[in-house]
Amino acid sequence: MAYGRTRNRKIFLIFLVPAIAVLFLTTIYPMIYAGYLSFRSYDLAKPFVPRVFVGWANYREILTSSEFMHTLIVTFKLMVITLSVQLVLGVGIGVLTAQRLPGMALVRTLLLIPMMISPVIVGLIWLFLYFPELGYLNYFLSLVSISAVPWITSTTWAIWAIAIADIWQWTPFVMMGTAAAIHSLSPEPYEAAMIDGNSRWQIFWHVTIPQIKPVLISLMFLRAIDAFKLYDIIFVLTKGGPGDATEVLSMFIYRQSFTFWRMGVGAAASFVSLAIVVVLITFFFKSLNRSQERI
């Protein structure tokens, strides 16, 4: 894109200005405000609680509290579960539906529906399915002689219940990416591999996967960012319970900010969360660059 002449550059700047201005105006104030809060003791509900500058106390409290560490562990656990299952299932279904068979386009289309549904609604739908005694899921399981699973009412199962709802919603995203990436591949490596007498599995593992790897990495990256913001589903399904089994980072922020009204602690936790995501992203860009160089 070589003709960056001075005048064009001016036009490009004009193109950039509205977006940046909007983002700047609408995000800079809230973020500065949140940053300001994070250094204060600030109880929105109780004006009689002293509102004072507390330095790094909020950050210190978060980073030393076992509660916060617990939420981090739950968040990462949930992220690892959902991302890995979405990856495996998504790639699996993606490969299945990438075949050029009649009707496959419709199948792919139908499978996309879950990712178009509001996360709150997804939470409601799954809450409805999960009711241990009365929900549909255990009823279906009982039809195949699997005894009832205490989905959202057991501290061990609840995290899986959340994960399943998230997986249900976002596996289609990975599937779609995989199918599209496979369609965009050139046939030569396959033909070469077939002539070399490789098995289907070998071809999949050594030819397909390396080629679609950059796509998979980007998909996982987008999912990882969202995993940190995962909120609606938990808000509806478990509110962090039973006990504190599904208390993720965003629920922690919500609880601190809107249940306990400790806005300062909530804001500080938000910045810690942002820092973690930014580190994740930097890591992602590095690994993406590496995998693209290899190809």
Partner: protein, 274 residues
């Protein structure tokens, strides 16, 4: 691609059938529950044969002005989509074309706007909009959603713009066209699929969003998602109405998927690879 053998074809069909069941049955259950009478809403085992009732749908629209909430959702979603698409596309074009070593930092900054936990900025937004006098108006939500949608559009569209061969724009330049004419007549038509996919994503996000809509609206600008959740009350969760409302809210997503599948696939992979 590989041609499967017959036995494998059968296996594939079975697996795909299972996948379809897993991903679609929950939606089917929503549909069924939305016409199920309240007393048998929860039963063990769940009943599938019953006399369907339209009560929940009727209640949905009579207990609360649900049609208005749908209208609000549409207004907010369309508004934010138009807004984000315009600004995001222009920005993406500039980022894609400017050759400057800091441009990547700018792109990253724009993207990072998506990463801050939304919960942390609810109160500042509330104060901001209250001061500006636009609390409980669609405009407030349009602005908030745009801060999420502009980065998304920018990110997606940059991928599309990168794919447009430079020579086409150069050809237009030597043919005597200025940058603007080139952009509108050559480049923009070529990234139409990207515009479509960005629009769908912006729309769906705005249509679906809950927490900002809950906190920043009253009944003037309340959106359908919040209205559906409002049937979760202090004394009862009105599952029938919730299911009926959910089913209605799901519809645009299904429509978009059915109409834009080809573009969605292309848009997502392009946007995410680059």
């Amino acid at each position: 691609m590989l041609k499967p053998a017959t036995s494998e074809k059968l296996l594939c069909t079975v697996l795909i059938a299972i996948a379809l069941a897993v991903f679609l049955v929950p939606i089917f259950i929503v549909a069924v529950s939305s016409v199920k009478p309240t007393p048998i809403m929860f039963q063990k085992p769940p009943s599938f044969v019953f006399e369907p009732t339209a009560d929940h749908y009727i209640n949905l629209f009579t207990a609360r002005p649900f049609a208005k909430f749908i209208w609000n959702s549409l207004l907010v979603a369309c508004g934010s989509t138009a807004f984000s698409l315009t600004f995001g596309t222009l920005a993406a074009y500039a980022i894609s074309r400017i050759r400057h070593r800091r441009i990547k930092d700018l792109a990253f900054w724009i993207l990072s706007m998506r990463m801050f936990p939304p919960i942390a900025v609810i109160v500042p937004y509330y104060i901001l909009f209250k001061t500006a006098g636009i609390l409980d108006t669609p405009l407030a939500l349009i602005i908030v959603y745009s801060t999420v949608n502009i980065p998304l559009t920018t990110w997606l569209m940059k991928g599309f713009f990168d794919e447009v061969p430079a020579a086409l724009e150069e050809a237009a330049a030597v043919d005597g066209h200025g940058l603007l004419a080139t952009f509108f007549w050559i480049t923009l038509p070529l990234v139409a699929p990207g515009l479509a996919v960005s629009a769908v994503f912006c729309f769906i996000f705005s249509w679906n969003e809950f927490i900002f809509a809950l906190m920043l609206t009253g009944s003037e600008a309340q959106t359908a998602t919040v209205a559906v959740m409002s049937f979760w009350s202090s004394d009862a969760v009105q599952w029938g109405r919730i299911m009926a409302g959910s089913f209605i809210i799901v519809i645009p997503g299904v429509v978009f998927v059915l109409t834009c599948q080809r573009w969605l696939v292309r848009g997502l992979t392009m946007g995410s690879v680059r």
